[in-house]
C-alpha cells in the first residue's frame, strides 16, 4: 500500500512565555521587571512522533485533553509547520473538521460552502455540482441562506461534515466532531463515514472519544499522551491499554 502520511521525529512547539498581547503592556513591562528566565521557554505540544499511515487506512486518535490530538491534526493539515523532524503528506486534504469549523459567521451557509470549497482548491463549477447534495445531507434546506451566526452548533457541525464528505479529498481530518448533532444525524454521519471508509481510497484520521465507533471502523489507533506517541496499533489492544491507564 502507498504511504500517504509519514512522520519522523516530528515535534511542534509553542511559545510558553506570556506574550505582550497589548501594546500598552509592551510599554509597561519594561518598567515592571519581567521574569527573565521565562523569556525563551517552549512547550512541546508534540515531540518525537514517528508513524507511517497508508492509503485507505482509518486512524483513530485518542488521548486526554491537551495530549496533542488537535495539534497533530493541524500539523497534518499544514496549519503548523514541524519545528523538528519531518512530516510527509501525500495527496490533497480536506479542511480540519472541528466543531468551530472555519466558517465566516456573517456569511450565509450557502456562501460558506463556496468559501470552504474554494479554500480547498475546488473551482466554482465543481462546487456547483455538489452543492445541492451538501445542503440536503446537512438537512439545512430551510436555513441555508441565513448567516452562520444564526445556526446552532449542531447545524454548523452538520454543514461542516457535509462539506467535508462531499468535496472529496485524499485525506479526511476530523477533530472530535462525531459526538455533535442529534442522534439521528449522528447515525447518518457515522453511516456516511463508514461508506467513505469502505471506498478505501480515502484516508481518514479521526480524533474521538467514541471508542465504540473507533473499534468498529478504525484500522489502527494512535494514542497520544502529553505530546508523545504512547501506542499505535490494533484498535482493541490500544483501547484496552488506554482504559487500564486512565
Amino acid at each position: 500500500m502507498r504511504v500517504i502520511i509519514e512522520a519522523r521525529g516530528l515535534g511542534v512547539k509553542f511559545p510558553l512565555k506570556q506574550r505582550a498581547k497589548l501594546l500598552k503592556s509592551f510599554f509597561i513591562k519594561t518598567k515592571t521587571a519581567a521574569s527573565p528566565q521565562n523569556h525563551m521557554r517552549w512547550f512541546w505540544a508534540l515531540k518525537n512522533i514517528e508513524f507511517t499511515i497508508h492509503q485507505g487506512e482509518v486512524i483513530g486518535i485518542i488521548g486526554r485533553n491537551g495530549s496533542g490530538k488537535t495539534t497533530l491534526l493541524r500539523t497534518i493539515a499544514g496549519v503548523y509547520l514541524p519545528d523538528e523532524g519531518h512530516l510527509l503528506v501525500r495527496g490533497t486534504l480536506s479542511p480540519l473538521l472541528s466543531i468551530n469549523a472555519g466558517f465566516q459567521r456573517e456569511l450565509s451557509g450557502f456562501e460558506n460552502i463556496y468559501l470552504q470549497g474554494i479554500l480547498l482548491g475546488f473551482s466554482k463549477k465543481e462546487i456547483d455540482m455538489v452543492i445541492d447534495d451538501i445542503i440536503q445531507f446537512a438537512e439545512l434546506e430551510k436555513f441555508i441562506y441565513l448567516p452562520i451566526k444564526a445556526y446552532s452548533s449542531g447545524m454548523m457541525a452538520r454543514l461542516g461534515f457535509s462539506i467535508a464528505v462531499h468535496l472529496k479529498r485524499d485525506i479526511l481530518l476530523i477533530d472530535e466532531i462525531l459526538g455533535v448533532g442529534d442522534s439521528k444525524f449522528r447515525r447518518k454521519s457515522q453511516q456516511k463515514l463508514a461508506e467513505l471508509i469502505q471506498n478505501s481510497r480515502t484516508t481518514v484520521l479521526i480524533s474521538s472519544h467514541n471508542f465504540e465507533f473507533l473499534k468498529k471502523q478504525a484500522t489502527r489507533i494512535l494514542w497520544l499522551e502529553q505530546g508523545e506517541l504512547k501506542l499505535f496499533g490494533d484498535p482493541e489492544f490500544v483501547i484496552q491499554n488506554y482504559n487500564k491507564n486512565n
Binding site: 509553542f14 511559545p15 506574550r19 505582550a20 498581547k21 497589548l22 501594546l23 500598552k24 509592551f26 493541524r74 493539515a77 499544514g78 496549519v79 503548523y80 509547520l81 486534504l93 479542511p95 480540519l96 473538521l97 472541528s98 468551530n100 469549523a101 472555519g102 466558517f103 465566516q104 456573517e106 456569511l107 456562501e111 463556496y114 468559501l115 470552504q116 474554494i118 479554500l119 480547498l120 482548491g121 473551482s123 466554482k124
Partner: protein, 282 residues
C-alpha cells in the same frame, strides 16, 4: 538591505526569489480564492454589493462636505477649487486608511479559518487593499462630474493616474503585510493606529496646499526632507496636479516610488518570516 550603500546583487536576487516562491507564487495560484474573499468582503462591509458601491461614493463625499464647510465657510480659506482638490486627496487617503486598519485585524478576525486549512494567509491583508482599491475606483466616478463642475484643468497628464495608483498600491500592500503581523502580537494596535493615521493625514498636504507651507523659515531646506520622508506628501500633490491642476506629478514621486518598492519588499519579507509563528499566536 539599504545599508552600506552598495547592495549585494547576488543576495538581492536570492531574496527576491524567496519572496516570489513564498508569497507571490502561492497568491497567483489562488487567484480564485482572492476573488472570492474580495466579493464576500465587499458584501460583509456593506451588506450588499450595489448599496456598497453607493456608500463608497457617499462616504468621501460627505467627508468632503464637512471639510469644505470647515475650511471655506468657517475659516474662509481654500480657493474656488478647494472641494475637488480635497476630494482628489481624500479618495486615495480613504483607500489607504481602509486597507491599513482592515489589515491590522485581518489575521486575528480570521483565526478560525487559518486554523483549519492551509492557504496563503497573505491573501487576507491583500484582500483589504483590493477592496479599498475597488472603493477608490467607485469614488473616481463621483469625482468626474465634480471635476467638470469646478472647472478642473483636465488634460493629458491624467494618464499618470495608473502610475500613481500603482505606487500607492505597493506602498499600501507593504504596510498592510507588516501591520497584519503586528496586529496579531498586539491586539490593541487599532487604537494607536487610528491616532497615527489621523496625524499622518494632517501632516500631509490634503487639506492644504504644499505651497502654503512656504511661509515658514527655511522652507526650501525642509520641504525636500518632507517630500522624501512622507510618501503621501508627494502622492497627494501628484493626485491634485494631474486631476485638478493639469500638471505632471510632483517630481519627488520617483523617490516615493523607490520608497514604496522598499516598503513593499520589507513588508513581504516580514510577513514571510513571521507567517508560521503567528499561526501559533492566534
Amino acid at each position: 538591505m539599504l545599508g552600506g550603500g552598495a547592495i549585494n546583487l547576488g543576495k538581492l536576487k536570492y531574496f527576491l526569489q524567496i519572496c516570489y516562491a513564498n508569497l507571490t507564487l502561492p497568491l497567483l495560484k489562488r487567484r480564485e480564492l482572492i476573488q472570492y474573499f474580495l466579493i464576500t468582503d465587499i458584501k460583509l462591509t456593506y451588506g450588499n454589493r450595489i448599496l456598497g458601491s453607493l456608500w463608497a461614493v457617499l462616504d468621501p463625499l460627505m467627508m468632503m462636505g464637512v471639510y469644505t464647510y470647515l475650511v471655506v465657510i468657517v475659516f474662509n480659506r481654500g480657493g474656488p477649487q478647494f472641494p475637488i482638490l480635497l476630494f482628489s486627496a481624500l479618495l486615495p487617503w480613504r483607500w489607504f486608511t481602509f486597507a491599513i486598519s482592515g489589515s491590522a485585524k485581518s489575521l486575528v478576525s480570521k483565526a478560525r479559518l487559518i486554523q483549519t486549512v492551509n492557504f496563503p494567509r497573505a491573501a487576507l491583508p491583500l484582500t483589504r487593499v483590493l477592496v479599498g482599491l475597488v472603493n477608490y475606483i467607485w469614488g473616481l466616478f463621483a469625482l468626474t462630474p465634480l471635476l467638470l463642475i469646478f472647472h478642473a484643468n483636465l488634460n493629458i497628464n491624467i494618464l499618470w493616474l495608473p502610475f500613481l495608483v500603482f505606487v500607492q498600491f505597493i506602498l499600501t500592500v507593504g504596510l498592510s503585510f507588516t501591520l497584519a503581523i503586528i496586529g496579531v502580537y498586539f491586539r490593541d494596535i487599532n487604537n494607536i493606529l487610528q491616532f497615527v493615521l489621523r496625524l499622518w493625514f494632517y501632516l500631509s498636504p490634503g487639506l492644504y496646499d504644499i505651497n502654503s507651507l512656504s511661509i515658514y523659515q527655511n522652507y526650501q531646506k525642509y520641504i525636500v526632507i518632507y517630500l522624501i520622508i512622507n510618501p503621501f506628501a508627494t502622492l497627494f500633490e501628484s493626485y491634485k496636479n494631474i486631476l485638478v491642476r493639469g500638471e505632471p506629478p510632483n517630481s519627488y514621486i520617483l523617490i516615493t516610488f523607490l520608497i514604496s518598492i522598499v516598503v513593499f519588499l520589507a513588508g513581504s519579507c516580514y510577513f514571510i518570516k513571521h507567517e508560521q509563528n503567528i499561526v501559533k499566536e492566534l
